[in-house]
């Protein structure tokens, strides 16, 4: 189980350090894949609710999200200096600090249970790094990846509970996931119109 969380964290952090749109979207797909594996390992897959949730996570988060975002790719919407968290040493240190802070929180909340500690740490790191991408960047495309990363962290917190959601609620949450990605695609198509005139879109720093 710990390996899955390490893989998940890698899928969050690697794109943060490699400024490429393709790596970022591929990272989102890997996050989705890891989420579905975490569900299978941590829950009773024979329960119909868990099985449906697994299929939904796999199809939507691991397959549909990266496929759809690649489909909606428009060179005008993605700046050449695309970066999820910026490229300065300060910004990269911030990513590492937030990851550490996430795991400190995991230690506090996990209360000695290793699996829970790692899961909470990974979820908190994903949430914090996702929020950093949303808050620190002026590039809408980077913010979009940040939002999906944040949503991944939320799902990881959801998976903390050993109980599956009732079927109607599960279908509602799944529908929202699809609707959310479709809406992001709509915005991705309009980002070119939002780009500030001329030069880099990155802030000068904190």
């Amino acid at each position: 189980m710990t390996n899955l969380f390490i893989m998940y964290l890698a899928a969050v952090l690697v794109p943060a350090f490699f400024p490429s749109w393709r790596v970022a979207v591929f990272g989102l797909g890997v996050q989705g894949l890891m989420l579905s594996f975490v569900l299978v390992v941590g829950h009773d897959i024979e329960s119909p609710e868990v099985f449906v949730e697994f299929v939904c996570l796999l199809l939507i988060r691991a397959v549909f999200v990266p496929w759809y975002l690649f489909q909606k790719y428009d060179p005008k919407s993605i700046p050449r200096d695309f970066s999820l968290v910026g490229t300065t040493l300060w910004q990269r240190s911030l990513v590492i600090s937030l990851t550490v802070a996430g795991f400190v929180m995991g230690l506090a909340m996990g209360q000695g249970d290793t699996r829970e500690t790692v899961q909470i740490g990974t979820a908190a790191s994903s949430l914090l790094v996702g929020m950093l991408m949303v808050a620190n960047q002026r590039q809408p495309a980077a913010q979009l990846v940040g939002l999906v990363t944040f949503e991944g962290g939320v799902t990881l917190v959801e998976l903390l509970s050993p109980h599956a959601m009732p079927f109607p609620v599960l279908l509602g949450v799944t529908a929202i996931d699809v609707f959310f990605v479709l809406t992001l695609g709509q915005y991705l198509a309009r980002f070119a119109e939002m780009a500030p005139p001329g030069g880099t879109t990155e802030r000068e720093g904190i």
Partner: protein, 483 residues
């Protein structure tokens, strides 16, 4: 089952427009008005036929008809009916007429999601419906508009997703606390079941959950520190969409907060109160600062909305007797914002600017919109006889009685600052000397009918509140005190 027709009418209208292409050209606007009217009719029927103190669960306990849901259903149905009349008039002018159905379908689906959210008895389902409403309305903020509106819409979406994300994390923390580390205990999100629990399990989990839930909903309401989306989105969106955000969605989120606060206050009253009062006080201070600096009338009203959200949060945080004042304030607030934002649309259409300095003598040039704007501003500032006046008085007197003198003083100072700043900015715009070449404008009835409708409801509620309405408000207030 009558209550579901309130959601069925807009849903059927939207589906009909989506699947029957021939309807799109001519029927979009009539379908919008018809759906809104049918929803309002059913909402009023449900409110009138409900027995005092009764609670029913119409569909598998996922939905509930109680005092709170009936009150909010009626509010949003009244507001949406007014919006539908306004949209009908304004879409006639829109350049993108061929895309009328885009606006209408999204508006109807948004309203249906809001109606179902208001009726929800399950916290996660309510979350799903609020998120659905958010995703439906977000593209309407930039419909037919330029880069600034797209940017504002994107900002709205980001903050909403993060805010609702925090709320969901809070709910999941609550579930983790209830279920225990190995899922030994039952987990429920049904409100009626949660109300019967004597413990929520591990304290560390539900306290974290509680804090995150309130913080997340605070973001969605435009409370500090996550408030910056609100002035941009309200300012850039078309007036009808701003009204949907400010008076329909705001009230759905508020109901979600009411449900959560009413439920969780019995477990930890201090944590809820401290967080709400802190967010409210900071919001009031920040909005006051922006109101003083505002040079754009729509933005000024947007900042006043943050101020109102702050006052509601402080009142909710106080609990006890302030709860009745909060409920009264909420009802008045929904109508005031509807009047003002829709009137702002009329003013902008005529003058072509949102700059306060460019406008003088509104009441002479646009008599109907001028009067509506004037009365809306009075209600915004909490003048008698509007409900906001009584609501503020009740909240303030409760503060003084409870010994919160610093808070009382702060609120009095901020009310004065807002009164002076808003009056200094808006009163010359309403009554100032009109330029000589400025003739009186004949305003189309469709663009002013909804504002007149809201003002009639607002004034009649302020002058005389019928006993059934008062008892409904009291019932809702009683649920806010952890009872």
């Amino acid at each position: 089952m009558l209550v579901f027709l309130c959601a069925a009418a807009p849903t059927l209208g939207a589906v009909a427009l989506m699947i029957v292409p021939r309807l799109r050209d001519k029927a979009a606007k009539p379908i919008l008005i018809l759906s809104a009217a049918v929803s309002l009719l059913f909402a009023l029927t449900v409110a009138a036929t409900r027995r005092v103190g009764s609670t029913t669960y119409p569909w598998g306990r996922y939905f509930v008809v109680d005092a709170t849901s009936v009150l909010f259903l009626t509010i949003i149905a009244i507001v949406f009916f007014g919006i539908s009349i306004y949209v009908r008039q304004k879409l006639s002018y829109a350049s993108a007429r061929s895309r009328d159905e885009f606006v209408v379908v999204r508006a109807l689906l948004f309203f249906a999601a809001c109606v179902l959210a208001v009726l929800c008895n399950h916290l996660v389902t309510m979350w799903v419906l609020l998120e659905a409403g958010t995703l439906t309305i977000a593209p309407l903020i930039f419909f037919g508009r330029g880069p600034d509106a797209i940017r504002a819409s994107w900002k709205y979406l980001k903050f909403s997703v993060v805010g609702l994300g925090f709320n969901l994390i809070g709910l999941m923390c609550l579930a983790r606390g209830m279920g225990g580390a190995h899922g030994d205990h039952t987990v429920t999100f049904f409100l009626d079941e949660l109300q019967t629990l004597t413990t929520l399990g591990e304290k560390i989990w539900w306290e974290l959950g509680l804090a995150l839930m309130v913080f997340g909903l605070g973001t969605k309401l435009g409370l500090a520190p996550m408030y910056s989306w609100l002035p941009d989105a309200y300012d850039e969106a078309p007036p009808a969409v701003t009204t949907m955000l400010a008076a329909v969605q705001f009230n759905c989120v508020l109901l979600f907060l009411f449900r959560q606060v009413g439920l969780l206050r019995s477990f930890d009253p201090t944590l809820v109160s401290v967080e709400l009062i802190a967010m409210g006080v900071v919001s009031i201070a920040i909005s006051g600062f922006h109101i003083v600096r505002a040079d754009n009338y729509k933005r000024l009203i947007a900042y006043a909305s943050i101020n109102h959200a702050g006052t509601i949060a402080v009142g909710l945080g106080m609990g006890k007797n302030a709860a009745y004042g909060v409920v009264l304030y909420v009802v008045s607030n929904a109508l005031v914002k509807s009047v003002l934002f829709l009137t702002c649309g009329n003013i902008k259409d005529h003058y072509g600017t949102k700059q306060i300095a460019s406008l003088r003598g509104l009441i002479r040039v646009m008599p109907f919109s001028g009067w509506a704007f004037m009365l809306g501003t009075f209600a915004l500032l909490g003048f008698a006889p509007f409900g906001s006046f009584l609501g503020e008085i009740i909240i303030l007197s409760n503060m003084a009685e409870g010994g919160y003198l610093a808070l009382f003083l702060f609120l009095c100072v901020m009310l004065t600052v807002n009164l002076v700043a808003t009056g200094r900015a808006l009163f010359p715009m309403i009554w100032g000397d009109t330029p000589e070449n400025e003739d009186k404008v004949k305003e189309p009835i469709g663009s002013i009918a909804s504002s007149v409708f809201y003002i009639l409801v607002l004034v009649s509620l302020g002058v005389y509140t019928p006993e059934p309405v008062t008892s409904l408000l009291r019932e809702v207030a009683a649920t806010l005190d952890g009872k």
